[in-house]
């Protein structure tokens, strides 16, 4: 797997891993969960497609998205009392940090990043497997164009 080429791709990867992390089990206290990361190939597909998407919009919109992403990765670690870079936090800490940021006055930045990531993520046919989502909405997501389609 090729590592993300640019800092924003590394940050998008770290956010996406947390956003789409799945439940892997309960911790000993029985209340918290241990998150498992989504498949690396899915994340790579997402970030690659996001890169293509951003290449088709204006410089201003690219800047807007990257500003929102930067706000998220710079601010979120502070909410779990960490000064480490967001991408170096454990998956659990990233999930918790994003949850707190989502409910903070900076929730708009999370919303902007999450919206675009989700929009692309749920276009992948593997979404059928996860959460049983697409089996219910086949007509919305499965087109003649297939997964990649005419980008």
């Amino acid at each position: 797997m090729t590592p993300p080429a640019e800092p924003w791709q590394r940050d998008a990867t770290a956010v996406a891993e947390a956003l789409f992390a799945s439940r892997a089990g309960l911790r000993k206290d029985g209340e918290a969960w241990t998150a498992g990361p989504p498949p690396a190939s899915r994340i790579a597909w997402l970030v690659d497609d996001l890169d293509h998407f951003l290449g088709t919009v204006s410089g201003r919109s690219q800047l807007l998205f990257r500003a929102a992403l930067t706000t998220v990765v710079l601010t979120a670690p502070k909410l779990v009392l960490s000064f480490r870079p967001f991408h170096s936090l454990s998956l659990e800490d990233r999930v918790q940090a994003l949850e707190r940021l989502e409910h903070s006055p900076l929730g708009l930045a999370v919303f902007a990043v999450k919206t675009l990531l989700c929009f692309i993520w749920y276009e992948h046919p593997d979404s059928e497997v996860e959460a049983g989502l697409v089996k219910n909405v086949t007509a919305l997501t499965r087109y003649r164009g297939g997964t990649r389609g005419p980008r």
């Binding site: 998407f53 204006s58 949850e99 749920y122 219910n136 919305l140 087109y143």
Partner: protein, 519 residues
Amino acid sequence: MTATPLAPTALPRTRTSLAGTIVRGGDRHGDLDLRADVVVIGSGAGGAVAARVLAEAGRDVVVVEEGPHISAREHGDMRPTQSLRHVWRDGGMSFAVGLGDTPIINVTMGRVVGGSSMVTGGVCLRTPDHVHEHWVAGRGLTTLGPREMEPHYDVVERWTGVQEVPVAMRSRGVALFGEGLQRAYGKDASLASLRRNTHDCQGLGRCNFGCPHEAKLSVDLSVLPQSLARGATIVADALVERIRLKGRTATGVEGRLGSGHRFVVHADQVVLAGGAWHNPLLLRRSGIRQRDLGKHMTLHPSFRTMARFAEPVRGWEGALQSAYSPSFMRDGLTLVALFVPPGVVAGAMPGIGPEHLRRAGDLQNIAMFGCLLHDEGGGRVWPGPGREPIVSYRMAQGDRARLPGAVKKMAEIFFAAGALEVFTPVLGLGALTPERMRAIDFDRLPGRRYECTSQHPLGTCRMGPDPRSSVVDPNGRVWDTNGLWVADGSIVPTSLGVNPQVTVMAMAHRVASGIVTGT
């Protein structure tokens, strides 16, 4: 690169060269120089209708469109975000900057042959009579009354196949909202069927992102082909940079093709239909200096409310937009059924990681309804550093004051319908139960926390009887300028309170008919 100056007399008439064709500017090698009777800037609901009226009247018409030509079939093959990339303006990421206590408003538009008609849900509601009456009595536009506009509505509705959406095309989610509406507001507050420009709709629920069955009759399917058949030429991938003026008389347009080459269209009549977002900048660059140019933009600020039910409601089934509630229109609120792609639903719900996936897994239990504010305006278009303008929007006090009440109303209706949780458009609130909702003072929430969208930018070149307070005269002609008309949503004098597609078409039909008859 500069325009190639050629004597107009040396140019071929489009009728004998490119007549009836679509020229793809991105593939064009070399500059393009055309001559026509009329050049229409923009091929959306306004431009397409104007072009057809003029072509059917025997005029030699060239339509210039900034976006590419993508067939309905190609569009139907796209994933939603592919549609955003290739069909929507700026990937659907345009926005109006909220001033004061106003939310940032995401404003979506089409940028393609067919314009925003390609990305609408197909809603074709006529402007309510009381709005037309206000234009007559309050704005002095005596020829825009409901009776005067009726023939124009009739024609464009026939052209685009407007029909009522059958009740059977409502999803369970929409039906439940209707039940909740009656429980909360009485028997009179029922849902009404929307009218849409569709033919043989199979309810795939993706009208905004291209219909694989070509059932949505956007103007690229319903209006432009007739113009081509009458000899019109469409130049796609062609950005008009300037309207040519000789003194106060329009003489054509010039700009840049997608291939980088220049183009010029010489014409005695220019019809601008580039939309309220861009028209003001183009007119200003071309030397038009009306005081109100770019001001008074209305947006119909809109928001969606989602609700989770215990049972599957399958909000994506049936027509994407099937019904609406006129019950609160006098209060400036129009409630409209809608649904959006699963990724957008999932992204709009609170939660990260397992919590997010759990909620996404409940998608079939999620219902959704939209609310549109009949706003007073407050938007303004400013030149920006790049191609796209900067648009500011200061929500009028009255509109801002109605926002919390509208959100509460939507939530109450869903709870009355039996929803377990409601997701309001207020960022950070999370999932609300009736108890949690009662504990929140919505009036104290800052405007910036509202997730607001708009699909209806209107009014930046508004029509009026007085050049001191309008940009175009009652016939759509730019004040004090010969041969230059505007025929799209930018001339609409006030916000409408309903989706503007059919009004834009009717207004364009009226303007173009006036050009033909010389009135």
